[in-house]
Symmetry: C2
Subunit: 294 residues, 2 copies
């Protein structure tokens, strides 16, 4: 497998997701905690202004600004659009990036537990997922396979390899010790994997494991004028990565009536009732469970 020489850990891409910000501060003071022998680690505070204003973002979502097209468009000049260009200059540039691997740290209000999100199912990522699950059996691996990294808008797509560590439930603008500890642990496992992979000392990994593949995001029930008229059904709330079958309740309208799921295949909801997705009236993501074979 390819060698990673430069690695960046990014916290505070969303200003009100506090775990990454407080880990960034800790690692700024104790750089030895994220150091390994075979690569250089740097730590980055992506959106300090949003953190200081205690918001997800100032002008627009920073983690949607990293397509090749947006990065090249100099008329996109608000705060996050400018931060995206600055971060691309600092860590990239995307397409021929100085940084080989980016770990981007996020929190969710959803009950997803410690989740590793991988943007492509290549050999490196499949092994990384297996390693993290081996060390942290309570973790979940989600693949959000991207057809084209150039078209991708996530910060971690600056580098050739990028992962998101996504841990919840944690309300926005709060730091929970359990969530902070899980994020610290998962980050350490990812750093160890890169080190062992570089040194060709990976342990024996399971031949296969279960993971989830993102399929689609679905919206909350809306009126014709786009107003929310319902909410996630209480049976679905907090049941991230639990099976949802045809006929199961999925939404409750504010008038009390219940909407059931009508897809033919079993799906696995996640990002259920994530606060930040209300902007776009998104209710949850749906995934499929698949066996990953190494």
């Amino acid at each position: 497998m390819k060698k990673i020489k430069e690695l960046a850990i990014v916290g505070g891409t969303h200003g009100n997701e506090f775990s990454g910000v407080y880990l960034y501060k800790k690692w700024q003071e104790h750089a030895e905690l994220v150091k390994r022998t075979s690569f250089v680690t740097e730590t980055v505070f992506a959106n300090p202004k949003a953190f200081h204003e205690n918001k997800r973002y100032i002008d627009c979502d920073l983690n949607r600004q990293f397509t090749a097209k947006k990065l090249a468009n100099h008329t996109l000049a608000n705060y996050e659009q400018s931060r995206a260009k600055a971060l691309n200059h600092q860590l990239g540039p995307k397409g021929s990036s100085r940084t080989d691997f980016i770990i981007d740290l996020h929190n969710t209000t959803s009950n997803m537990g410690p989740t590793l999100i991988l943007l492509q199912s290549d050999d490196f990522n499949k092994k990384l997922g297996a390693y993290v699950l081996q060390k942290m059996p309570e973790a979940v691996v989600v693949f959000e396979d991207q057809k084209s990294v150039a078209d991708h808008y996530f910060l971690c797509s600056i580098a050739e390899q990028g992962v998101i560590i996504e841990i919840g439930p944690q309300p926005q603008s709060v730091v929970r010790q359990d969530v902070l500890d899980q994020m610290d642990d998962m980050t350490q496992h990812v750093l160890d994997f890169v080190e062992l992979s570089n040194l060709e000392q990976l342990p024996e990994l399971p031949a296969q494991y279960e993971a989830y593949y993102w399929v689609e995001s679905i919206k909350l029930p809306e009126s014709k004028t786009g107003e929310r008229i319902g909410m996630v059904h209480k049976n679905v709330q907090d049941n991230d990565f639990k099976a949802l079958n045809k006929g199961d309740p999925i939404f409750t309208l504010f008038d009390g009536s219940v909407i059931t799921y009508q897809g033919d295949e079993t799906v696995y909801p996640h990002f259920i009732n994530e606060a930040a997705y209300y902007d776009n009236n998104l209710a949850m993501s749906l995934g499929k469970k698949r066996i990953v074979i190494l």
Copy 2:
């Protein structure tokens, strides 16, 4: 007991506490749900602008603006200071209020469950607490005894009798069905109590019950320059209304060290790690458990 003739239910005092806002919308469409025979009910949307901007408040916390002194000071003219005067005119005026009873609906990110907060331990409130616990055994009653209603800054202090219905855990800017249902249920029980009290048809109530009395709010660990240097200990997180004794862990500093509670008396934390209290670096409130005798 005194008769209640006019009652107001207020939602959206904090714009990102969604349960009250969606119940307000429901009751606007179905006024019959909050109607009773012996009093008039009106529903009020306290801070629509903050809701539309998806924030707790625009300029300052609305639920801190209702002291007699602030209401009389016309130089206090920002959005919430103006809303406070408008609401005082609409429902009050405080001191000789047209409205006899205000129910103010709130959410917390803390794991407090359905909580009824009472501002004085008079006969009416003590019976109200007993009635709500009889109908809803999972509820908790908290007394925040106020020496002077004139000096009190809560919206519900406009009327002679006011209560807060405070339900969590719910992240800011999210609507959870379980929390919405609990808020609806508790509000109905309070309305029923007022009706039965007015009609002198209250059922037999238990002679005594357990409740919590607010003692103090305590701060997160801070550096000399006021920066947060620690968080709520994981043993305390989510354990609202559970006993905390001398020597129990209460905070974990970001350097890993643990701070223990040093008070001599057993206390009962609540509003543990409430997101909105980070503005002032508040970690939690501490209460004492007492037997309320009717």
